[in-house]
Symmetry: C2
Subunit: 127 residues, 2 copies
């Protein structure tokens, strides 16, 4: 099971430790730059829509199975599958963003907490 990125995140966020935990907690606007060879797959996405973005959180620790939610030691430890921790066996990021503008293969979006350079794996409609 090999993933092949469909694009990359361009964002002013560069430090995962300083990025918001959730996109609605103050993430700046970002751009999804989709690779030319798959850009035909964007047809049908329109500004104003909410879209699910799946990313590969490439700085994650894949050996982690239990965490303190939100990195706060005051929160009791629990299993990663009951949290949104980036550290997990398959570090797939799931983000619900709002499309602001589409310029060819460049989608400007709101509410994306992924850092600059994060690989994009898939886009899906919110149902």
């Amino acid at each position: 099971m090999e993933l092949s990125p469909i694009g990359i995140v361009e964002s002013p966020l560069t430090d995962p430790a300083a990025a918001p935990k959730q996109g609605r907690e103050g993430a700046p606007e970002a751009v999804l730059v989709i690779h030319a060879d798959v850009a035909a797959g964007l047809d049908g996405i329109a500004p104003g829509e909410e879209v699910i973005v799946l990313t590969w959180l490439d700085r994650a620790d894949r050996g982690v199975l239990r965490v303190h939610p939100r990195d706060d030691p005051a929160n009791p430890e629990r299993g990663v599958f009951s949290t949104r921790s980036a550290d997990r066996p398959n570090p797939l990021g799931l983000h619900v963003v709002e499309v602001v503008e589409i310029d060819g293969p460049r989608l400007r979006v709101r509410n994306l907490e992924a850092v600059d350079g994060t690989p994009v794996l898939d886009l899906k409609p919110v149902i």
Copy 2:
């Protein structure tokens, strides 16, 4: 970017063509069987909760970029990223299921349209 399954779907559904398009369209109960080496990650998930399941749709055609939504030729063709088509460059399945019962590493769930044998990649809470 290599994925490593965390478990597998056990379901009465065996034929992708006959499976419902969405879990709420009549999917039977199924079981997520989580591998023992990552089962510690389940701590904190409780019956009655909704959980997001990410799967690998291993029978998908990864070269497809445009489809008729819901496999209906009457629907105008559009880009796969604006649809829930299984055929797409990275065939990641996203399912919102309800946990009915937890028996160790076995989670019985409702509303999962993935077929028997589908690899499970990740579980996340609904936020």
